[in-house]
């Protein structure tokens, strides 16, 4: 009988992989959630803690996330399940990190950071990975999220004088009159006249 009771008495083992557990241990409350979906782990942290968490993940000798694979954002407008979960967050910044250690306990990790609507901003990760340079410019260009400390934050895909952020959900797929207002007859001649 004691053999059967022993597993019940033992504390339930934390199923989360080592990097996720370490982040939770070290940062505590600013870690808002840890999720798993299809074998991929996500850590959600506040915007105040995002930079320290990224720095920790990159520099900690146990896992060394030395590669920033991707950085993007998701506009949660209308996605109630997400925005309600993270205090009415409008945007989620999504970092995909990868460790190049041969025996890493978890080679890939996703870190997310909810941002509110009014003037969304986050600290820049360019100091940690130079790969963040264009990725942050793209997120700024497409979503209007400002990265504090970015050395050259300007639009990258859209024209400099473009007045909107196209990947926001309230921006229509067909645009807001860019084609209609484009001055085809600027020279006073149409193609037919020519």
């Amino acid at each position: 009988m004691p053999e059967e009771q022993a597993p019940e008495a033992a504390p339930a083992e934390d199923p989360r992989p080592l990097p996720v557990r370490k982040v939770v241990e070290r940062f505590g409350d600013p870690v808002l959630a840890t999720d798993e979906h299809r074998g991929e782990w996500t850590v959600v942290v506040t915007s105040e803690a995002i930079h320290p968490v990224l720095r920790f993940l990159k520099t900690d000798p146990a896992f060394q996330y030395i590669r920033l694979v991707d950085l993007t954002a998701v506009d949660c407008l209308g996605l109630e399940s997400i925005s309600a979960r993270f205090g009415g967050a409008r945007f989620l910044l999504v970092y995909h990190l990868m460790s190049h250690m041969p025996d890493s306990p978890l080679p890939r990790l996703r870190v997310k950071c909810p941002l509110t609507d009014a003037e969304p901003s986050a600290p820049s990760a360019t100091g940690l990975w130079s790969a963040a340079d264009w990725l942050e410019r793209e997120v700024y260009d497409m979503f209007g999220i400002v990265f504090d400390g970015h050395p050259d934050l300007r639009r990258i895909l859209m024209p400099d004088d473009f007045g909107a952020f196209p990947l926001r959900k309230d921006y229509p797929v067909q645009g807001v009159g860019e084609r209609a207002s484009f001055d085809f007859e600027r020279s006073g001649q149409t193609h037919r006249d020519e």
């Binding site: 299809r38 030395i66 694979v69 996605l79 399940s81 080679p107 890939r108 130079s130 790969a131 264009w134």
Partner: protein
């Protein structure tokens, strides 16, 4: 008093000149704009400007059904559209939690490796052309056309193939597939590749133009987000096919070539060896090709074959319960899969699926809200990440070297402007 002539010359010599390369220039491989600041012929600063295509692929993805977006992925990379199809459907399948049968996986591997050969051939041809070697360009394009013949026999299209579907392939490969591919490999390995290598690998001009040019060390390459042959050229042995095998890549035996110096010549050598390794993989796929279906056995996910939609039912034959669709049933089935609220609807969640495309890590990050439309489609395109390293790679080089380094990164304008 007028300044002496010599002093005036000195002032002129200390000024820098801005040279615009592109947006429409043959060496920029699409629409890119390089603002190059020159001191004489030496590059002081290089500032790339993107955005001339305005494709909006990611925004389009949010208003298209999961299967509809496949045709858009073709257009992102016009050198290897099949690899993009493949990467996208793998991501959707991960989101759905399904796995394609072995035969489908092997066909995908064989075709993805052929797409890698075609991509590397176009890269090699245009890269050599940029540096001034015209003959290699012709040899390389000839091989690409042969690959197009094979893909045309499979899918009916040559460039924008859209051959994969969520949960499988548009159709199985034809009976002529195996002999066609074997014939292609024989010609490629025995004639084309030795000929091209003979033209370039020990060519004095080629070596002078590429060796020690555009050097990037392993640490900087990892930091700057380089992937694929460019990262391996810097000596980092990283290949997603080995590190995180997908679609049965664990069944195949192949090597990962790596460079030592991280220069343009190493990136060339790495790609040439990758061509040989791809041939090895294709041969193994053909030798060990399993029988069976290519699609998952789920009629609510898979589009019916064209013959079930367009062909009139043959009433002289007995009813076939395995393929029950003659014409109208097939048509209804097709509509049911493609109509809003009836087709593929992955559960709420998100996935990131990385594949080793010819130019590096091609990843799709998909967010599902439970409907038939992806809530967010994000493409982690290798060209975009590789290309942001160009300014630091060309600094201090001659202006003609910019073209050589640009070519060695294999810039795809469709991937830069998402």
């Amino acid at each position: 008093m007028r300044a002496p002539a010599r002093a005036k010359t000195d002032v002129v010599a200390s000024e820098t000149m801005v040279l615009n390369i592109g947006p429409q220039h043959p060496a920029t491989h699409g629409t890119l704009h390089l603002e190059v600041e020159l001191d004489g012929e030496q590059v002081v600063r290089c500032t790339p400007h993107l955005g001339y295509l305005h494709t909006g692929f990611e925004k389009l993805g949010e208003s298209m059904l999961y299967n509809q977006f496949i045709v858009v992925t073709d257009r992102m990379n016009y050198l290897s559209p099949l690899s993009n199809n493949f990467a996208y459907v793998l991501a959707v399948e991960k989101l759905l939690g399904v796995e394609v049968p072995k035969r489908g996986q092997y066909i995908r591997v064989a075709l993805a490796e052929m797409a890698r050969i075609a991509d590397h051939m176009v890269w090699l041809g245009t890269h050599a052309l940029d540096i001034g070697a015209f003959t290699a360009f012709l040899y390389a394009f000839q091989q690409r056309e042969k690959f197009y013949d094979i893909i045309e026999a499979c899918s009916g299209a040559r460039l924008t193939v859209s051959y994969t579907r969520v949960g499988g392939m548009a159709q199985d490969v034809p009976d002529t597939f195996v002999p066609m591919v074997r014939g292609f490999l024989e010609g490629f390995l025995n004639e084309a590749l030795p000929e091209i290598e003979g033209l370039l690998s020990k060519n004095r001009i080629w070596i002078d133009r590429t060796k020690g040019i555009g050097v990037i060390d392993a640490q900087t390459a990892l930091d700057g987000g380089l992937t694929g042959p460019c990262l391996r050229g810097s000596g980092v042995e990283f290949d997603i096919r080995k590190a995180e095998p997908y679609s049965s890549y664990e069944d195949f035996d192949f090597d990962i070539p790596v460079g030592v110096r991280g220069d343009t010549y190493d990136r060339y050598l790495v790609r040439m060896e990758e061509l040989r390794q791809s041939c090895r993989i294709i041969q193994q796929a053909l030798d060990n090709m399993p029988d069976g279906p290519v699609n998952v056995p789920d009629h609510k996910m898979i589009l019916p074959g064209k013959e079930h939609v367009y062909k009139a039912p043959d009433h002289t034959q007995p009813y076939d319960p395995v393929h029950p669709y003659g014409s109208i049933e097939g048509l209804i089935h097709h509509f049911k899969v493609t109509m809003r609220g009836h087709g593929v609807e992955p559960p709420e969640g998100e996935v990131y699926c990385a594949t080793e495309s010819p130019n590096g890590e091609l990843g799709f990050y998909l967010v599902s809200d439970g409907s038939g439309y992806p809530y967010r489609v994000r493409v982690r395109a290798p060209s975009f990440m590789n290309y942001q390293n160009l300014p630091r790679m060309v600094q201090g080089l001659m202006v003609s070297d910019v073209v050589a380094v640009l070519g060695s990164l294999n810039v795809i304008a469709g991937e830069l402007d998402r």
